[in-house]
């Protein structure tokens, strides 16, 4: 099994599985509303021109979140 790392460090094109989310309150709720829960698979598909926010593919749609929001999410990188 791969080591857990912050979602911020995910490279473009890499796929990963969410292991842990430490956000609570409104941010936590928003993250969960969008389907980001432990076990969900994500893929980094793009970064904004200033490298923040990041665009993620989650299941069947694309969402964006800021780097400091990605810091609250741990993932394990999946083999390609």
């Amino acid at each position: 099994m791969n080591q857990s790392q912050s979602l911020r460090l995910l490279k473009l094109g890499e796929k990963a599985r969410i292991t842990r989310i430490v956000a609570d309150g409104e941010l936590g709720r928003r993250i969960r509303d969008m389907g980001l829960v432990p076990g969900a698979e994500v893929e980094a598909i793009g970064r904004a021109p200033l490298k923040d926010p990041v665009a993620l593919r989650v299941k069947d749609f694309t969402l964006s979140l800021r780097n400091n929001e990605a810091d609250l999410i741990d993932v394990e990188v999946l083999e390609a």
């Binding site: 409104e26 969008m34 432990p38 021109p49 200033l50 665009a55 069947d60 749609f61 964006s64």
Partner: protein, 786 residues
């Protein structure tokens, strides 16, 4: 025998809910606001059924928590109005996430019908959905639709009406779905539900279990209700806190997170049973990804975005110019007609300068509002607006704003020549309340199209030869002020963490004409209904302030006497001025007017001087006439007419000076002198509240120049130059005009968009103080140092 059925339409943003609403209701909707907040409340009538069925469009939401106004409104409507059926519009392409809302609606007990929208798109992406099976597993009707093409809409209409009618005939209590939240929470939830039922706490509105879950989710509005209810609230909070402590201690997580996990678990258990199958050979959102590779590219992305923003601006104002000019011409024509048709007096002045000018002002914005909302609808429906927010977030969040704030700024005059009214309205695209408020309050700092002619006039006087760089500098200063003040506001009055950016980037889609037209029309009619009447009312108040109390009777009589005298002379001379001479003299006459206009200088230094001078003016005119015993060469009809017009101008100047606005301007002079403004400037600035370009015409009246045209400001600029104001006074005035309170239509728009006049009052006070401080600093420092 039957009361009208009510159907509510719920769904995620970008699920095509509005399109389906239009398809179900035939596009005829009644749009209102929920009381006190600016969330649209749309209602229509279901088409294709014989009896009346109300369709209420709930705001788009991802869940039924109470973090956004949209979600709270949706929840309250369901709990209080108890619709006979709720249609959850689901983007079939992302079924799993969309079902998250559906599950919460079921937990509330709502009589749910699922409408799987955009089935065509989902199929193209290789998703197969067994909707019949989905319906069996969730015990509810499911319809497949393609709302943009109208496919499946008649079937959905039938299903929903049957379902709602059946519910209405057997109106038992709602049957909430019960999901297990695991051993750690289920016990607590049960215990809390019992307590809730015993105390009958909110049980008339929500299922007891649902209320218990909300306590575990830290739902503020429900907990506030509990505190009001007394002991039960405290008891539930203790139970919830204990459960949270347990989760934190043993599982290192929050109850909310566990609840969400189990909800998603429930959804995937349903989908796994053969409801959703994927064909992985198809790259699912390939097309959108390819476009994004270009449109959000590190280099090309921002360049294309600037191009798009510039284009939106250009189209709005270059295309909007034509209907605006026609409207202006029309209202000018009506004004002229009334002017000639009615005798001079208060009624005429009220009609022409108050009502017709006011209605014209309101209508003048309509083409702009329409165009900007058409273009915004295109950007939103196509999915590009989300990319703008995505690319600009990093920059704008530094100032406490949102990526989407850029659109209101640009429209308000971020590119000089915009307009704050459509700009403020364009802030509706922002879903984060604090960022939105900061945007609304700072957008009016931009160089709008009404400030522009004032700046052109002032730069021609104070910065001849350097007009362009100074104008550009003012535009930049507008940006600096907007961003700086917004940063300041977000650190003080509108303080609070930035709203999380977690945001969907919807796939690129082609907007439908029908959707665009409906959206544009709704916004425009709302502007007319909500803002229009207020703008008109305030225009009339301002007219009154600049008209009353009017000249004292003796002064009025003196002016009239002079006028009658000159008029009589003209009559006497008229036969002498032969018909063939008249055309040749036209040019000479206007030249005479101009010289006389200039001759009116030297400008009086104080209002008292002005009054004295104005008082002398008619006498002088009279004396001149009397002194020269009408030698035919000297006193022609034209020179007399010019005198008559001078007399009118002098009268207008004196009327203005003695009006409420004039007295205010005079009273403020001791203070405004600090910034280098004399009483005339003050009056003009008060007039500028109606619309900033009024500054020019008011200055014209105050300097006895009569009507000064935007197209020809030469006489006024000469007058200002002759006065010998310094460059610093000019610069201070320009900065003041840039920053001081926006015009009345903007102030009304601020109130309408923030839902509170409090913010309009704030904007007026804060901007005036800020503008005055800056103007004073520029004038004082500039004068002292250079």
């Amino acid at each position: 025998m039957m009361r009208p059925l009510t159907i509510a339409l719920a769904g995620n943003p970008n699920s095509g809910k509005s399109t389906l609403f239009n398809a179900l209701t035939g596009g005829r909707a009644h749009v209102a606001n929920y009381p006190g907040i600016t969330v649209d409340k749309k209602e229509g009538r279901l088409q294709g059924v014989p009896h009346k069925v109300r369709v209420v469009d709930l705001p788009g939401a991802y869940s039924l928590t109470a973090y956004s106004r949209e979600e709270l409104v949706a929840r309250d409507m369901l709990a209080l109005e108890r619709p006979d059926a709720v249609v959850d519009v689901i983007d079939a392409g992302s079924l799993e996430r969309n079902l998250y809302l559906a599950v919460q609606l079921l937990e509330l007990g709502a009589p749910l019908v699922l409408a799987l929208n955009m089935m065509d798109e989902a199929t193209k992406r290789g998703l197969k959905i067994d909707s019949a099976k989905l319906g069996r597993l969730l015990h509810l009707p499911v319809a497949e639709v393609v709302a943009t093409k109208g496919a499946g809409v008649p079937e959905l209409t039938q299903i929903v009406t049957d379902y709602a009618a059946a519910r209405a005939q057997n109106p038992g209590p709602w049957q909430p779905l019960v999901i297990s939240y695991g051993p750690d929470l289920d016990l607590v939830i049960d215990a809390m539900s019992k307590a809730i039922e015993q105390a009958r706490f909110l049980t008339d509105r929500y299922p007891a279990r649902w209320v218990a879950i909300k306590y575990l989710e830290n739902d503020t509005p429900v907990m506030d209700e509990g505190r009001k209810a007394g002991a039960i609230g405290a008891r539930l909070e203790t139970m919830a806190a204990k459960a949270a402590a347990h989760c934190n201690g043993t599982l290192d997580t929050y109850p909310e997170a566990i609840i969400a996990d189990y909800r998603y678990g429930f959804i995937s258990s349903i989908l796994k049973g053969g409801v959703l199958t994927r064909d992985d050979r198809l790259d699912r959102i390939e097309f959108s990804d390819k476009i994004d590779r270009l449109l959000t590219h590190t280099l090309f992305g921002p360049v294309i975005m600037l191009g798009v923003l510039y284009l939106v601006y250009q189209i709005t104002f270059s295309l909007g110019k034509f209907p605006m000019d026609w409207l202006q011409a029309f209202f000018d024509w009506v004004g002229e007609a009334v002017q000639t048709g009615l005798p001079d007096g208060l009624l005429r002045s009220l009609l022409v300068d108050g009502i017709i000018a006011g209605v014209g002002g309101v209508m003048g914005f309509v083409p702009l509002v329409m165009l900007i909302f058409l273009l915004i609808a295109i950007l939103e429906d196509s999915g590009y607006m989300a990319r703008i927010a995505y690319m600009l977030d990093r920059v704008l969040r530094t100032f406490g704003l949102h990526g989407c704030s850029v659109m209101p700024f640009i429209i308000s005059g971020g590119i000089a020549g915009g307009c704050a009214v459509p700009g403020i309205m364009a802030s509706r695209t922002l879903r984060s309340p604090k960022e939105r408020l900061a945007t609304i309050l700072t957008a009016p700092f931009m160089t709008c199209g009404a400030k522009l002619p004032v700046f052109i006039l002032l730069t021609s006087v104070f910065f001849p030869g350097n007009q362009t760089p100074v104008l550009f500098g003012m535009t930049l200063l507008g940006w600096v002020m907007a961003l700086g003040v917004s940063w300041l506001l977000r650190a003080t009055l509108v303080r609070g963490k930035s709203t999380p950016f977690v945001m969907e980037l919807p796939p690129y889609r082609l907007p439908t004409w029908r959707g665009l037209v409906i959206h544009t029309w709704e916004r425009t009619s709302q502007y007319l209904k909500k803002a229009g009447s207020f703008i008109l009312a305030v225009s009339i108040v301002l007219w009154a302030a600049m008209t009353f109390p009017g000249l004292p009777a003796d002064r009025e009589a003196a002016f009239e006497a002079q006028k009658t005298e000159i008029a009589a002379k003209i009559d006497a001379l008229a036969p002498a001025g032969s018909a063939e001479e008249a055309p040749a003299q036209d040019g000479a006459a206007s030249a005479a007017v101009e010289t006389e206009g200039r001759g009116a200088a030297p400008t009086p230094a104080s209002p008292d001087d002005a009054k004295k001078e104005a008082a002398e003016a008619p006498e002088r005119a009279g004396n001149d006439a009397a002194a020269a015993p009408a030698p035919a060469g000297d006193e022609t009809v034209e020179s007399l007419k010019a005198k008559l017009s001078d007399l009118d101008n002098a009268k207008a100047a004196e009327t203005l000076a003695s009006s409420l606005a004039g007295r205010l301007g005079t009273a403020l002079e001791p203070v405004s002198k600090l910034a280098g403004f004399d009483w005339r400037t003050n009056i003009a600035l008060v007039g500028g509240l109606a619309a900033k370009e009024v500054v020019i015409s008011t200055l014209g009246t105050a300097y006895s120049l009569g009507k000064v045209d935007k197209e020809d400001m030469a006489p006024l600029s000469e007058m200002l130059s002759a006065e010998g104001k310094t460059v610093w006074a000019g610069l201070a005035l320009m900065v003041f005009i840039l920053i001081y309170p926006p015009c009345v239509p903007s102030i009304v728009s601020i109130a309408k968009e923030t839902g509170s006049w409090k913010w309009s009052a704030f904007s007026m006070t804060f901007n005036t103080v800020l503008a005055f401080l800056l103007a004073t600093a520029i004038f004082q420092l500039g004068t002292a140092l250079f």
